[in-house]
Subunit: 352 residues, 2 copies
């Protein structure tokens, strides 16, 4: 028994349509797919009939016949123990999905345990289930790039892998310059003790952020206190805990840079729990991925922030990937997005 159920659901296949019209499947197929060698009148008839019967080519058959999956894979790796799905991911996906829809691609999502990540790509390639993939949160030297190049599977990295020797497509925010400007902005406000509550230490973007931060300090001849840089999973509680720890230092910072809005929320909680007031007693500056569920439409934003829409990054990544899939010989490309520096109420001049 094959396809009985599907036959029930969708009795209108190409064969039926062709017979109904008294035409060959070839002609019907071509008429619907816009081939030139079909008579105008015929095409009209075919289209009308297709409309009438709500005909849509069976996706499975089409994929087999064309040898293309018309699907893009997004693998998200989750570690055993702390199974965190990056909240930023939802917005990125939203942007990417919009682009996929324009070109008729499906978005395939899969969460895989950390240790199976590489083999998951192998499987995907062997099954030939997707035409390309997006790589999320790359490490500084990410093994996935090499693997995907070996598998000859088109991909785009959201972010970069600085120490990788591979040739690859990427879409990234200029983290280094964003955090350089953020830090310098705080220095200009008179702050000298500036902490950085960063993401996980092995992630490429976190390393770049540290680099920008340190470059600003060194430009202004401020000694970087290594204690002031914290690394961790970017959750709200992490921001909170980090802040409490920072405020307990002999010399507490007068300004804190947070790596995401969620972390900033935690930082704020820590500050307020200590009876301090954000902006007045201590400044907060955050990186803001412009997440839809955090977005504030008020004139003056709450947090001063380096802002860049992760949704836009998603759209651009998808766009780049589709271009690569449709022309594999295409030169690999990197797209660098500059973040805006938005001044809100959370940063004030340092008390002297």
């Amino acid at each position: 028994m094959t396809g009985n159920k599907s036959a029930l659901k969708n009795a209108t296949n190409l064969k039926f349509l062709a017979e109904h019209l008294g035409l060959s499947q070839t002609t019907v197929s071509r008429a619907l797919n816009g081939f030139p060698e079909v008579n105008y009148k015929t095409r009209q008839l075919v289209q009308a009939a297709a409309q009438k019967f709500n005909y849509q080519p069976n996706a499975r058959a089409k994929r087999l016949a064309t040898g293309r999956s018309m699907a893009i894979g997004h693998l998200v790796s989750v570690s055993k123990g702390h199974e965190i799905v990056n909240p930023i991911f939802a917005d990125f996906i939203a942007g990417a999905s919009a682009r996929y829809i324009e070109s008729g691609y499906d978005l395939l999502l899969s969460l895989v345990p950390d240790e199976k990540e590489l083999s998951a790509y192998n499987d995907l390639a062997a099954r030939d289930a997707v035409d390309g993939v997006i790589i999320h949160t790359p490490k500084e030297d990410d093994k996935r790039l090499k693997r995907l190049n070996e598998l000859n599977l088109p991909f785009v990295v959201h972010g970069r892998s600085t120490k990788s020797n591979e040739v690859y497509n990427w879409v990234d925010v200029n983290n280094e310059s964003a955090f350089f400007r953020a830090t310098e902005f705080l220095i200009d406000l008179g702050h000298r003790s500036i902490a950085l509550v960063n993401g996980m230490a092995d992630l490429d973007f976190a390393i770049r952020r540290t680099k920008g931060y340190e470059r600003a300090l060194s430009k202004h001849q401020i000694d970087a206190v290594s204690d002031y840089i914290l690394y961790g999973e970017m959750t709200e509680p992490y921001g909170y805990r980090s802040t409490i720890a920072l405020l307990d230092r002999p010399i507490p910072p007068t300004a804190i840079i947070a790596s995401s809005i969620l972390v900033a929320n935690g930082v704020r909680r820590g500050i307020e729990e200590r009876g301090l007031k954000m902006g007045h007693d201590i400044s907060i500056l955050s990186h803001d991925d412009d997440l839809s569920y955090f977005r504030d439409e008020s004139d003056v934003p709450v947090y001063s922030a380096t802002r860049s829409s992760v949704r836009v990054a998603g759209y651009k990544s998808a766009d780049l990937l589709i271009k690569t899939i449709e022309d594999p010989t295409r030169q690999r490309e990197g797209i660098l997005i500059e973040a805006d520096l938005m001044i809100g109420t959370s940063t004030k001049p340092a008390k002297s």
Copy 2:
């Protein structure tokens, strides 16, 4: 030209394997798929060869041959203007994906504009691209259920559609009882002016939450002040704005119930901006979806909350859907999850 590229990527197909082994495709296929009518020795040989050549059946061909897509669709509708991807979604997906992987299903994600939502399901069914779908954030009388039943496409609703007459699978938190208990808990603490910062008014869960809230008030002979119930998209800024508005009322509430942790964050910001202290001057109780990126491992939670893991709900939804797909005659089922009431530091007895 068909499948050239894919041939490059994966030269090892069934035909090659069969020829290499000197067996028919039938036997090889059966050996790998665990059919009983194949000799033990033969099966060993086949499996060894498959391993050696890293053979994985081509997903496209398999799907066409079996008439099954081995994919589950998740359609998320986004409204023009405020394109919000529910952050809860990420965690739900994580739970569902785990279940899909167990049974070899792919997860197909698609964001569709509000107005195209219904037709998107038609397309999905006509293309026969998925074996089933999950319905997110249902309205009180959701049109999608009827449509999907007409299309004969298996589905599970995350939540319920109280006023719908359709027969359907669902997985839902007991919102009514959760919010009843939450409200009663606050009443027991002496609060009489309790506000509810709810989700969008047309969503089923929001209506149930209001119901639970009102039932508790009425049980304790407290007049429900309609002004105290607010409806809106559950973002942080919404929580903030609502709180500011509530505090400006002639009789400001002494306790606020928030519909999600994000909203609670906003509520807290509003409270603190007014120089009040959470817990001391005003109590906050939230519904907590136990989102991974908000989870706090500390002994005493910050927010008192009705807690229920949305990730678990995702897993259960997926499980129910797969069962329905594999046995379409299966009785439709509803799974009701009770939320826990966790007492944190954000609720204190009302000042008298």
